[in-house]
Amino acid sequence: MKYLPLVWAGLWRKRTRTFFTLLSIVIAFLLFGMLQGTNAAFNRGVEDANVNRLVTVSRISFTESLPFADLAQIEAVPGVDHAAYASWFGAYYQDPKQFVFSFPVDPERYFDLFPEFKLPAEQMDTWKRTRTGAVIGAGLAQKYGWKIGDHVPLHSTIWTKPDGTSDWTFDVVGIYEAPQDRAQENAFFFNHAYFDEARSFGKGKVGWYVVRIKDPTTAAATGAAIDRLFLNSQDETKTQTEKEFQQSFLKQIGDINFIVTAILGAVFFTLLFLTGNTMMQSLRERIPELAVLKTLGFTDRGVLALVLAECLVLCVIAALVGLAAAAVLFPMLKDVLGVVSLPPQVVGVGLGVSVLLALAAGLPPAWRAMRLNIVDALAGR
């Protein structure tokens, strides 16, 4: 700590240059925070995937429906413990911008397969008895101020009723919580029976099946056994683990990880040269000062450490400011990503990157400072 004033003084020798370098690093880390946060949010479902669950979808496309009759056959496959089904409802509330993740499901089956969703037993009972009943996540309820007893109209972009309208009304009968991951509290579940009866097409079909297996080590074999059941039928299936399913679902949007890595790679590559150049310029201007430090008794390694410390202070402070700004701005993406705050691991990785950046940008000038010959430097040679 006693060297901090010396490090700080060296850093701010050219205030304007240091300020603009700092600013560019801040912006780079703001970008890092937002993009990595988005990436982490997208991958959250993959990381949190349950190893006991398989997902069976149509082999043709995820958007193709499967017959409801497959359920009994799937449950009869050895190794399968239980199965449920769901469909994509594709709805919004009042405004197309207010998208609601909504799914018709069998209440008991679905919530049995997803024990991470906590719903009071009496609310489950009411839901089972209420044909138009819907159970919503606590986050969604908070967002729109919905409460039990409310009538909620949703407009589906896919499903029409026989009268040609796409407006569906539901009665909120329960609010579930997902204590392990609050980001999961944004879904809207309602009775498949009501949906199947009221829709104008696609009756007797479901979007996909979720299968719980008895032993996760048999996932591949059980999945293959399910797919064999429907081989050469009109509705061939593709069964994957929940993790594989999440990954393939994300790839339909695009390889987010690759895009984020490519953008950040380009940004930090440029930043490396910018910071490195600033440090090198700063070093060239201070050669006599560094020679004086050596004259006073600072060792070669001590001078190397001082220059590296300058770069480290610059990069880490800028990274902290940039990541703090990202943490403030990130919740604005809550509606898109369903994640309420910047994941802490993004901040951790960001700080790690800032240290690496400092070492990479600071090492060449620090090495040169270390090798300075006092006599030559003092003589201006």
Binding site: K2, L6, G10, L293, T295, L296, G297, D300, I374
Partner: protein
């Protein structure tokens, strides 16, 4: 009095391109503790090289350099750095202060290499600044001070760690006559009152008059001038 500096058959050669240039030729010298030595000579005669060897900034090509009881020609780079921190205070022609740091922070620099606590460092810095008469300028940066004041700060920095030897390279070369005399009086005072051994390279005969001993360096060789009465 015992010799604080002993040079035996010291040769210094530099490589300039493809050529080897011998700057000092088999030089022998003894400087006693408490001496105030002025080293004079024409440009390129080797006086700064001699000063650099005694101050541990450079190593001889041949010969022995014994300063403050240690063979410094045998020390490694890092050993020499630590030795300098313990034994030598440097004063340069152009002050060489850190422009972004206040006078007290500049003076504190050599103490950062010691195990002294912050309070002890602060106390020593205050004492050094008091000796050079700059207590009231402690919080000023070099750019806010005159040349004479900056050189006083440099002297305080050289003094603060209580070195065995003060090494001054043209300490008044950038100052007007009056300010130069003030600085030289201060150095003389440090020599007489505090017993500091001072080696000063100068071109200025008037500056040399403040020293108790004159060394004349010419073409890499030494001609000991007569001792001046204190």
């Amino acid at each position: 009095m015992s010799a604080i500096v002993t040079l035996k058959n010291v040769v210094k050669r530099y490589r300039r391109g493809k050529e080897q240039v011998e700057v000092l030729h088999a030089l022998n010298l003894e400087i006693e503790q408490g001496d105030f030595v002025a080293i004079m000579g024409p440009s390129g005669s080797g006086k700064t090289t001699l000063l650099n060897l005694i101050g541990g900034l450079d190593q001889p090509t041949e010969g022995e350099v014994n300063v403050a009881g240690e063979r410094i020609d045998r020390l490694s780079g890092s050993q020499l750095a630590k030795w300098r921190a313990r034994h030598v205070g440097f004063i340069f022609q152009f002050y060489n202060l850190m422009p972004m740091m206040t006078a007290e922070r500049n003076v504190e620099l050599p103490l950062l290499l010691t195990p002294l606590s912050r309070a002890e460092r602060k106390r020593n810095v205050a004492t050094a600044l008091e000796i050079v008469g700059l207590t009231d300028r402690a919080r000023h940066k070099p750019g806010e001070m005159s040349g004479g004041q900056q050189q006083r700060v440099a002297i305080a920095r050289a003094l603060v760690a209580d070195p065995t030897l003060l090494v001054c390279d043209e300490p008044t070369g950038d100052l007007d006559r009056q300010t130069a005399d003030e600085i030289l009086h201060l150095l003389q005072l440090l020599n007489r009152e505090q017993g500091k051994t001072i080696l000063m390279v100068t071109h200025d005969p008037k500056a040399a008059e403040f020293a108790s001993r004159h060394l004349q360096v010419d073409k890499g060789q030494l001609a000991d001038a007569p001792r001046v009465a204190a």
